[in-house]
């Protein structure tokens, strides 16, 4: 818990995470912290290891070394579903809408504490299952309303546009009631209007629910305008960390983007 205090109440504390693919160190000892209630951007040139880092800390790929603490609790080595249940939920660079399922089912799937997800309860506690299901449906519809997807609730998710899918994926991740949301390029491939709405949602969720965000982004205007802190990765390492203004002027960052490896 000492580190948590050191980092000023870090919700996420990543230390020395290494992920190798054969001889390549895709993530080479990355360390950083994410304070509760902050919006943190993760940037870096292509191949810097941002997505691999996401995969490693969320349990989608087994890290070779390091430590990842979520609210002081070690989560590295846990399977992906267990990491998500502890409150760190991620989205994917390429949207993963469950295409042949209705939008509302996409949302309801994500709700936590559903007794009806256990086969045994279907037979033993059908009443509890139905009760929770009603609640979950209401929550889902409310959240869809917020994201302007209410009218599409009954449509197959596969019929949504790229931008709508991004919104759905964010809304769905929120259904899981995470403490920390990891968004992998949430703005990629969507039109500016929807992108702005997505950013507004992020800001509002932070304000209203104290939610914490870590997101990968390439658009520097978005990064500079919407994040409290920026983490810069290059060649698998964190080469700079700080407020957007500081980071922009950091020579190591300029070098990583314009020159060779840092």
């Amino acid at each position: 818990m000492a580190t948590e205090a050191d980092r000023g109440g870090a919700l996420l504390d990543v230390e020395g995470v290494v992920k190798r693919f054969g001889g390549i160190r895709a993530v080479d000892g990355a360390s950083f912290g994410v304070a509760a209630g902050s919006i943190v951007a993760l940037i870096g040139p292509n191949g810097a290891g941002k997505t691999t880092l996401f995969n490693a800390i969320t349990g989608f790929q087994r890290a070779d070394r390091g430590s990842v603490r979520l609210a002081g609790e070690e989560v590295l080595g846990l399977p992906a579903y267990a990491v998500a249940r502890r409150g760190m939920v991620r989205t994917f660079q390429i949207t993963r809408a469950l295409a042949a399922m209705p939008v509302v089912d996409n949302m309801m799937l994500a709700a936590p504490a559903q007794p009806g997800e256990r086969f045994r309860n279907l037979l033993l506690h059908p009443r509890a299952v139905r009760g929770r299901e009603r609640e979950v449906r209401e929550e889902a519809i409310e959240l869809l309303e917020v994201f302007g997807l209410r009218d599409l609730a009954g449509d197959y998710a596969g019929t949504l546009s790229g931008g709508q899918r991004k919104l759905l994926e964010l809304a769905r991740a929120l259904m899981a009631q995470p403490k920390l949301l990891l968004l992998d390029e949430p703005m990629a491939g969507i039109n500016p209007t929807l992108g702005r709405r997505l950013l507004d949602h992020m800001q509002r969720l932070r304000r209203e629910r104290g939610m914490t965000f870590l997101f990968v982004e390439h658009d520097m205007d978005v990064v500079m305008g919407h994040s409290d802190r920026v983490i810069v990765m290059a060649a698998g390492r964190v080469i700079a960390e700080g407020e957007p203004r500081q980071v922009r002027e950091d020579p190591a960052v300029v070098d990583a983007y314009l020159g060779g490896a840092a």
């Binding site: 249940r85 994917f92 469950l98 042949a100 799937l109």
Partner: protein, 331 residues
């Protein structure tokens, strides 16, 4: 041989004996294919090993009765448990693999079961199989309890129907099972549990990212499929009054897939209709008379069924009850 190039007697179709035979086999295939529907249509795991589960179910029931002296009615649930445990055992390592590797593992496992049965002569009778001789009334057989129940049902039916179809009790047992399975599976499919299965079918990583232990759900799906496989194995054994390795060849699984494709993916009642249609076609084409040898006609039956399947797929690729939109969006 008929003088006409193609003659077709419809007489058989008005015969209850023909239909009871077709419906027994179709019902057995419906039970097997309901498990496949759960796996393939709703969970997205391609299980090529249903014949193996039928074999494990059938053989363990018979062996428990004949070798362990267990009563038939106790052997049934015991054999179901064995088959489900077997399914979980196979699934534990292989369900972590990619879908196509899993398919190969299940196919291979079913063949291992069949070949083991062929060679473990002490237990399974090897290539002789475990069969019941009708003449030797004194000899015990695995289906004695069923036969006496069946006879008393027939005795009761004789009050209303002078010469009842001997397959009637089995027919009732099989189609009751089909109906209960369709209702039960339909119910669980509409619950949050079923929703997780569909999410796995659509995108397993997305389901994991939302906190679902996908391996557990896939194992449950496979175990339920194994249960249905075991039930079908019992019915087949009771129908044939034998258990023989040849009855569990991979072709059984592929016929079950034929049923699935005909009925349509992600529809349980489609399975029942698909099974009836496939077996009406397969058995009905027996009566097609052509000016060629009987062996050639027999071979041609499958060609006819194949053509019907191709035509159906061309005009209705989603099968009879499948949802076209889900099929298109699924990829």
């Amino acid at each position: 041989m008929s003088p006409l190039p193609l003659a077709f007697t419809l007489e058989a179709f008005t015969n209850f004996g023909f239909w009871s035979g077709v419906l027994v086999v179709a019902g057995i295939y419906a039970v097997v294919s309901l498990g496949l529907q759960l796996n393939v249509g709703y969970t997205g795991i391609v299980n090529f090993g249903q014949a193996g589960f039928m074999a494990v179910g059938g053989y363990s029931m018979a062996i428990l009765v004949l070798e362990a002296g267990l009563s038939f009615w106790l052997a049934l649930p015991a054999a179901v448990s064995i088959t489900m445990a077997f399914g979980v055992l196979i699934g534990l390592p292989s369900l972590r693999l990619r879908a196509d590797y899993f398919a190969i593992v299940t196919l291979a496992t079913a063949e291992v079961v069949r070949l083991a049965a062929q060679n473990a002569r002490g237990l399974t009778g090897g290539n002789k199989g475990l069969y019941c001789e009708f003449e030797a009334a004194s000899q015990t057989c695995f289906d004695d309890s069923w036969r006496s129940l069946s006879d008393s049902i027939l005795g009761f039916v004789e009050n209303f129907w002078a010469d009842p179809e001997p397959l009637l009790p089995l027919l009732i047992a099989i189609w009751t099972t089909v109906l209960v399975a369709i209702l039960g599976l339909g119910y669980v499919q509409g619950t949050p549990w079923g929703r997780v299965l569909r999410a796995i079918r659509e995108d397993e990583d997305a389901a994991r990212a939302l906190g679902k232990n996908t391996l557990l759900y896939k194992l449950q799906s496979l175990a339920i499929s194994a249960l249905l496989g075991a039930l079908a194995g019992f019915f087949l054994a009771l129908f044939l009054a034998t258990i023989h390795p040849d009855d569990y060849e991979p072709i059984v699984t592929f016929f079950a897939f034929g049923v699935l494709i005909l009925g349509g993916l992600a529809s349980y009642r489609g399975v029942a209709i698909g099974a009836i249609l496939l077996w009406t076609l397969l058995e009905g084409t027996r009566f097609v008379e052509l000016p060629i040898s009987e062996e050639k006609t027999a071979a041609l039956r499958f060609a006819i069924v194949g053509v019907v399947l191709i035509v159906l797929m061309a005009f209705r690729p989603q099968g009879m009850f499948g949802k076209r939109q889900e099929m298109v969006l699924g990829d």
